[in-house]
């Protein structure tokens, strides 16, 4: 029997100064985002930098859609890693499974909120999408499969995976005891129960992998099926989105794991082997993505299509060049570092975190470049070349979403173990 005074693991329920400070920062960002969004609600999206294609020479999709795509990409890796751990029995990666799951749930929430931030009629959108959504529209996949379905699946996965921990924690008295009891839902840590969970999660993981491919492909289809926008129409969009999702998600997970390892002193549980695995996975995805990117380039370079050429010019030399080359460099440096670590067999967490941050910079940049230039520079009609730069409202909303993500993660970490508990 557990002792009454025993502390809950991983700092649950204990509020430290650092945590408070971090929370406060996240809160400030979130509130600022809320304020920015309120401006948009009151005055309309005229407060954003987005404008109509054509005579307004603008881009009707901007930062919001770029970040929706980014957040969904990040969500990929979490559940993918969790599922792979279960499917391939990667036992020593288990310590990061929970945080991967939580990351997925939060990123999906942020992606969903990003869509709400983008649409002109957010209230009506909820009802009309549920009522009228057309399977013919690539948005159907984005909204139903990629966001709602996937979110539900991820929540179920997180829930079932956490039952054992909840049951253990429920034994410790405290203000969350009721919550843990609810979560545990009568879980008894018997071999049968473990066995049952093993089986359930195996099938769940098996089900989630194809869903994941479908979800991210549909996201790619949102762009890839549009004949009218040079730079979008193409078969590589769907697999490209999938690969980029892996890159950004794994990068995120690496950073997250490193932070938690540091904060909670989990050097033992999250050992270098975990990072080696993550590093090699990231290497594979980054390499695949770079390959796709080069293929896409070459195709555009050889294309005689003037709209494509104009677009490519804007990317390589024009007003988007700085984002483009920043992204390329942010991909190539990690690629070199990852290859180096793989070749030498020496894995440094510092370099890995650096790579994780860089690939996310690249991910954000590339998402932006997928969404925006095709609108401003990709007109097949002889309109004036457009321009787009986000306003403080859009940046504020995006920062608010990021703040909210951090906030949710920190709050979760204070009520539930961020790693699987061995024994209480």
């Amino acid at each position: 029997m557990a002792v009454q005074t025993q502390k809950l693991p991983y700092g649950i329920g204990r509020i430290s100064g650092g945590w408070l400070l971090a929370l406060l920062v996240a809160l400030v960002f979130t509130v600022f985002g809320g304020y920015a969004y309120a401006q948009q609600l009151i005055y309309g999206e005229v407060v954003t930098g987005m404008r109509d294609i054509g005579t307004m020479a603008g881009a009707p999709w901007g930062l919001y859609i770029a970040f929706v795509v980014y957040f969904e990409g990040v969500s990929f890796a979490g559940i993918a890693v969790a599922a792979l751990i279960r499917l391939l029995d990667l036992d020593h990666l288990k310590p990061i499974a929970r945080m991967a799951q939580v990351m997925t749930v939060i990123a999906l929430i942020l992606g969903g909120l990003g869509v709400i931030a983008d649409v002109g009629k957010p209230g009506r959108a909820f009802i009309n999408l549920l009522k009228y959504a057309r399977p013919g529209s690539p948005f159907f996949g984005t909204l139903t499969i990629a966001i709602l379905g996937f979110l539900f699946g991820a929540l179920v996965y997180l829930y079932l995976d956490g039952r054992r921990d909840a049951a253990l924690l429920a034994k410790v008295p405290g203000k969350f005891q009721g919550f843990y009891r609810w979560w545990a839902a009568g879980y008894q840590d018997t071999p049968e129960a473990r066995e049952r969970h093993e089986r359930a999660s195996f099938w769940l993981a098996l089900a989630i992998i194809p869903l994941l491919v479908v979800a991210h492909s549909t996201l790619g289809f949102v762009f890839g099926l549009q004949v009218g926008r040079p730079g979008w129409f193409g078969t590589l969009q769907a697999p490209g989105f999938l690969a980029m999702a892996g890159v950004s998600g794994l990068g995120h997970l690496i950073v997250l794991a490193a932070i938690l390892r540091k904060v909670y002193g989990l050097e033992e549980q999250i050992d270098i082997a975990v990072f080696r695995w993550l590093s090699n996975l990231l290497l594979i995805f980054t390499a695949v993505y770079v390959y796709f990117m080069v293929v896409e380039w070459l195709t555009s370079v050889y294309s005689a299509n003037t709209a494509e050429a104009q677009l490519l010019n804007a990317l390589l030399r024009g007003e988007y060049a700085w984002i483009f080359w920043l992204s390329v460099v942010s991909l190539l440096i990690p690629l070199v570092l990852l290859i180096g670590q793989f070749a030498t067999g020496k894995y440094r967490i510092g370099w890995l975190v650096f790579s994780g941050v860089l690939v996310n910079v690249a991910a954000i940049g590339k998402r932006f470049l997928v969404v925006v230039p095709s609108q401003t520079h990709g007109s097949l009609m002889p309109y004036v070349i457009g321009s787009y730069s986000p306003t403080w409202v859009e940046i504020g909303v995006v920062l608010g979403l990021m703040g909210l993500g951090a906030l949710l993660f920190m709050l979760f970490a204070k009520v539930f173990p961020i790693m699987e508990v061995e024994e209480v």
Binding site: R134, P135, G136, I145, E192, R199
Partner: protein
């Protein structure tokens, strides 16, 4: 019983997805008339999501439902 129920939930969930996607939502194909704008059954997209949810909930049912044999 438990297995049957969760399996049937999976089947039902997928079936619901398929039916709502192909039969109850707005028709697929190149839209040429107002008929392509409206679902054949209102809130069919919600049914699709319910279908997705059912599949996942099957796992919850599978895990949480007490085993008759055990009692």
């Amino acid at each position: 019983m438990r297995k049957t129920l969760s399996l049937s939930m999976v089947v039902l969930g997928f079936a619901l997805q398929a039916i709502s996607y192909f039969a109850l939502a707005a028709p697929l194909g190149t839209p040429t008339s107002p008929a392509y704008a409206d679902p054949r059954l209102p809130f069919a997209p919600l049914l699709f999501i319910v279908g997705v949810a059912l599949v996942f909930l099957a796992a919850v049912v599978y895990e949480l439902m007490p085993d008759k044999n055990a009692k």
